[in-house]
């Protein structure tokens, strides 16, 4: 546990001192600010975060892989240092601690980003009468969604030595998972099951203010699965 926190703290701090961390933060603030402004300046605007959450998802699918690409691929090659994975794998930490530390570190950074965006519901509260319960559910959903994207990106980062490959494949992968919902809808009966694999339906519930056990379980099990897969990838480098 102590090791998880050490690694998480190092990773989170690295985002605050690296260019990529700032780029992601700037893009996040600029984009959410713009969307929020466009939405509230509409003539029949309602005091809700729905529009922001809805549009934010697509941005996060693009941005989060930029955060996760360095987590493991960057330890093998990258501007952080070359071959630092050798240090990690020869220190007395378990593969689980390594993967969890990396995941928690990136999640902490996302906490910071989402905390910044709290300014929008706060503003809404000043100018209108938003439903705080719905907004809360939306944020919970957003956290699960980010956790999903980060775990997925972390897994792909464990597969390759190249940060670029990790980032691009994560973005493409997440988009495919996203679009599988529409594929399911278009394909109808036979492909209907595809919709379940997409995070869209699960995400949608949170926006509408619903926190259901099945949605939480869905996200948690996928997050666990991706982290487990990343852990296995790392462990496999030690298998005969």
């Amino acid at each position: 546990m102590r090791n998880v926190l050490s690694i998480a703290r190092r990773e989170c701090r690295a985002y605050f001192t690296s260019a990529i961390g700032y780029v992601v933060m700037a893009a996040f603030i600029a984009f959410t600010g713009l969307i929020f402004f466009l939405i509230v300046s509409q003539p029949q605007a309602v005091a809700s975060m729905d529009g922001v959450f809805r549009n934010l998802a697509i941005l996060l699918v693009m941005l989060l892989p930029l955060l996760t690409m360095r987590l493991l691929a960057g330890e093998r090659s990258g501007d952080q240092g070359i071959g630092t994975i050798e240090l990690l794998l020869t220190s007395p930490i378990t593969e689980w601690e390594l993967v969890l530390g990396k995941f928690v570190g990136s999640l902490l950074y996302i906490f910071a980003l989402l905390a910044v965006s709290l300014i929008y519901p706060f503003t809404l509260g000043r100018i209108g009468d938003p439903d705080l319960g719905t907004i809360f559910a939306g944020y919970v959903g957003l956290l699960f969604f980010c956790g999903y994207c980060l775990a997925f990106g972390l897994f792909l980062s464990s597969l390759t030595n190249s940060q670029i490959v990790a980032a691009i494949s994560s973005i493409v992968g997440l988009l495919v998972i996203w679009l599988s919902k529409f594929l399911g809808e278009v394909g109808g009966g036979k492909l209907g099951w595809l919709a379940w694999w997409s995070f869209m339906d699960h995400h949608e519930d949170f926006w509408r203010g619903l926190i259901t056990f099945s949605d939480c379980a869905w996200y948690l099990s996928f997050i666990f699965f991706f982290l487990f897969a990343a852990k296995q990838m790392i462990a496999s480098s030690r298998w005969r």
Binding site: S6, I7, T17, S18, L87, S91
Partner: protein, 320 residues
């Protein structure tokens, strides 16, 4: 402390480590010596649980590297060959992070940090970003990282590469000071370093151990053969004829005939005893001008070259 039994590592079709077995006692300093691509780094990576072996077993500090990998890693300090560092951290931050991962608690970490920083000559660089340090300083940070938790077993892959001569001496002295309490394996291409720091030398070539002995013994092996360099003015054939009767000479070779200034010839003789007097008398007696005569004992370097360029199998027998 370290027991390696029949270790094999195969990369694709290349055998990087080929049935290597050896033991290292507690408190010993052992040097891995071998040409590029001999398999030194690969062996170290296997011992540090970074790479799996294809075959064979090994124990470090009493624990099996596969079954008790974590216990092994707890007791191990490792400086990898390419000196991996987090370039965005300061020296202090980096060493603190590494110390934490190695399980040091806060107070112990503070004391050890001060110690290794002093021992590795990093006092004035503690707040510098590692990415802005010179290559030699990075090497020192890497060394400090390997020793931060005061490990029982220390494995250093080319610890003095890219250090300046003064620093090489300091690091060498530091390594020697670790002797007794720590068991050390280090690899190097620098032969004097092995002679100065190591209790034992393991020469590796093509993944096989070709020599496993003390530097002293290896040098004795060499010193039983002396090389005489002789320069004479006159007919080379006459010189060769004059040297013929001296039996300890095992080999005579003409290095050059017609040297630039003196116009003489240079010969190299390999002898099994000190025959400088006989050689001088014989040459002068044959009416030749003796211009130069010196005798060298073979250095560890010569043995190194011999063992690693000859047929490995033949070389192994020669040593055994």
């Amino acid at each position: 402390m370290i027991v390696v039994d029949d270790l094999v590592k195969v990369y694709g079709r290349r055998r990087a480590v080929d049935h290597v077995s050896f033991e290292v006692e507690k408190g010993e300093i052992v040097g891995f010596l071998g040409p590029n691509g001999a398999g030194k780094t690969t062996t170290m990576r296997i011992l540090t649980c970074f790479l799996p072996a294809t075959g064979g077993r090994a124990q470090v500090a009493g624990f099996d590297i596969v079954d008790d990998s974590r216990e092994v890693r707890r007791r191990l300090g490792y400086l990898p060959e390419n000196v991996p560092l987090y370039l965005d951290l300061t020296v202090d931050q980096y060493l603190t992070y590494m110390g934490k991962l190695k399980g040091l608690d806060r107070s112990r970490l503070q004391t050890r940090l001060n110690e290794v920083v002093a021992n590795c000559g990093l006092e004035h660089r503690r707040r510098d970003i590692i990415g802005k340090l010179s290559r030699g300083y990075r090497q020192r940070v890497g060394l400090a990282q390997a020793l931060i938790h005061d490990p029982e077993v220390v494995i250093l892959d080319e610890p003095t590469a890219s250090l300046d001569p003064a620093q090489i001496r300091e690091v060498r002295d530091y390594i020697k000071s670790l002797k007794g309490n720590h068991t050390l394996i280090l690899s190097t291409h620098i032969l004097p370093e092995v002679e100065l720091t190591c209790d034992r030398v393991l020469m590796i070539n093509n993944g096989r151990i070709v020599a496993n002995d003390t530097p002293g013994n290896l040098r004795n092996l060499a010193s039983s053969t002396q090389v005489l360099t002789v320069e004479v003015r006159g007919a080379v054939s006459a010189a060769q004829a004059a040297l013929q009767p001296i039996t300890p000479i095992t080999r005579t070779s003409v290095v050059s005939d017609g040297l630039p200034v003196s116009g003489g010839a240079r010969l190299e003789l390999e002898t099994s005893a000190d025959v400088r007097g006989d050689v001088a008398r014989a040459l002068v007696g044959a009416g030749l001008d003796l211009l130069r005569l010196d005798q060298q004992t073979k250095s560890l370097e010569d043995i190194f070259v011999e063992l690693t360029t000859e047929e490995p199998a033949a070389a192994a027998q020669e040593v055994a």
